[in-house]
Amino acid sequence: MAQKIAVKVDDLTVAYNYKPVLWDIDLEIPEGVLMAIVGPNGAGKSTLIKSILGILKPIAGSVSIYDKPYEKQRQLVAYVPQKGSVDWDFPTTALDVVMMGTYGSLGWIKRPKQKEKKQALEALEKVGMLPFKNRQISQLSGGQQQRIFLARALVQNASIYFMDEPFQGVDATTEIAIINILKELRKAGKTVIVVHHDLQTVPEYFDWVTFLNVKKIATGPVKDIFNDDNLTKTYGINYKVSIQE
């Protein structure tokens, strides 16, 4: 099966000051996978996503999206940052945050209109947050805030979704709701890349996985490479997880 390559990373190296955070990463992510990026704290998981998206400037390397440079393909890419990266006391409503997902296609100066509002409301509905649309964002629970971020990415109607720890600090109900949406995205042929912490749920949630610890350890289908050998290489200790067959 010749799958199209959605994201291709070549020789990516990123450093804060002297210490490399990512070292010579080559990565090919096939279209239509639901991929987890796993690795210990400080392995560079978030940095990898941020460098792919141009938020951080790499020392070397290039990123292409469907065979073209990332800068030309931005509209194909959506991003869900870590929930803790913004100030939730900012004076705005849930609907307003989700509307921001439409700003990219609007471009400079143009204001969102009824069409954009409708898209935002649909996304809110999808994540089960429609009743909270006018709620000030500080009055949402952590799980609800995460859903708002997810809705904002859905509005972008992208082909590739990058998510930075979407399950962090959310309860079991929200986690299931989010993973169901991600699986729906995959079903629709989208590519979803998730920085993930909980190794136990990797085989259940994802079909593709990348092991990362400054260097890329392995990448491929979960059923082939999610094993004790790669986990030990990545986490540096004898790691045993039972994988449900």
């Binding site: 998206l53 100030d87 004076p91 705005t92 409503t93 921001m100 700003y103 990219g104 500080s138």
Partner: protein, 374 residues
């Protein structure tokens, strides 16, 4: 001069009208832009910018030898911008945190500015006096041309704000996300920061280097208390700022020899104080009242729930029980019992209480609600 005479004078006296208009416009524009500084957690930036402007004023005077405010403020603008972008450079290029960078630049530029001012004062030149008005401001020296200048800048600022509202809002909330959408965040950032610098420089003549940052922060901090919408916050901050200017000028004009700048700042601080205490949703007063009320309700409900537990074991829910039994329940007070009687949840006869039908209903609902939450 009493207050009524002041009002008459505002409409007739040229100087007073100029100053009132000037301080009002200044308050409005700094309040508007201050909202952005506050939300970006760059509250100290204003302080650093205003202090960084001082050497520019001195150098402009040394070069040109005039005290024309436009020339001096141009110098202030240039050195304010240099200071600001130096701060940004320090933050992005080194390990230093923003508060350190701000503090460094603030004291460096201010120290250099003071040095130049003393140097100028030692010069045998009759023209040198009066530069120190930029330290604390002197609203009385505002001319009609200065006010026009302020009005023009405010107008341009308003247009820019309306045009790039969506971009500003998104950058303030989530800069990384803004970048991934393909917006040039650096350009938006420079646009906002430049206007903040411009507004501060405009205020130096009126409020002065030392107090200028209060004009930026106070109206915005006060406005934040009253609303959860960015648009309303910016609008309110502009109103608060303008009112501070008008009232400040009024107070200083009616009370002899009170310097206008400090009075404006104090009035702005009163807005902050009142907002912090009395805002309905975020104010300390109502927060405390809500807190006390919630605790009381909880106490009442717990007593009711305890009674319900007892009444439930009897066929007749209104079967009387002694008050003593309630003493087993921690948190019971005579006051709560009276309140329950008042609400018709409980009837009291001598030392015996009994639950009414209404009380039983309310208590069972209470139970159900709690079970639902679990």
């Amino acid at each position: 001069m009493d207050f009524l005479e002041y009002i008459r004078l505002v409409f007739t006296d040229y100087t007073l009208r100029t100053i009132t208009l000037g301080t009002a416009i200044l308050g409005a524009v700094t309040g508007m832009l201050g909202s952005f500084a506050v939300l970006r957690k760059q509250s100290l930036l204003g302080d650093a910018i205003s202090h960084a402007a001082l050497p520019g004023i001195a150098i402009a005077f040394l070069i040109t030898g005039t005290k024309d405010s436009n020339v001096l403020l141009l110098g202030a603008l240039i050195s304010g911008l240099i200071g600001t972008f130096w701060i940004r450079g320090i933050i992005t290029k080194t390990h230093l945190k923003s508060d350190t960078a701000l503090g460094l630049i603030l004291s460096l530029f201010f120290g250099f500015g003071m040095l130049l001012l003393t140097f100028i004062q030692k010069q045998p030149n009759a023209n040198q006096a009066g530069l120190d008005k930029y330290l604390f401001g002197q609203a009385a020296t505002l001319l009609e041309s200065d006010v026009w200048m302020m009005a023009t800048v405010t107008g341009i600022c308003l247009i820019i704000l309306l045009l790039f509202w969506k971009e500003f809002k998104m950058l303030l909330f989530d800069a990384d996300f803004t970048k991934t959408l393909g917006f040039n965040t650096k350009a938006i950032d420079i646009l906002i920061t430049s206007f903040i610098v411009l507004a501060i420089v405009l205020g130096l003549q009126t409020v002065g280097v030392v107090l200028m940052s209060a004009m930026l922060l106070a109206p915005a901090a006060a406005a934040r208390q009253w609303t959860n919408s960015l648009g309303k916050m910016v609008f309110l901050a502009a109103i608060f700022g303008a009112l501070s200017g008008v009232f400040g000028t009024a107070v200083s004009a009616t009370q002899n020899n009170l310097s206008t700048g400090p009075v404006i700042v104090i009035i702005a601080s009163v807005f902050v104080l009142v907002s912090f205490v009395f805002s309905p949703s975020r104010g300390l007063l109502f927060k405390q009242i809500r807190f006390i009320k919630n605790r009381r309700d909880l106490k009442l409900n717990k007593t009711l729930a305890f009674m319900y537990g007892i009444a439930e074991t009897h066929e007749n829910i209104s079967h009387p029980h002694t008050v003593k039994i309630l003493n087993n329940f921690q948190g019971f007070t005579k006051g709560t019992l009276q309140k329950l009687v008042h609400k018709n949840y409980v009837t009291l006869e001598g030392n015996m209480w009994s639950l009414t039908k209404k009380g039983f209903q309310a208590a069972s609902n209470l139970y159900n609600q709690q079970n639902d939450d679990e």
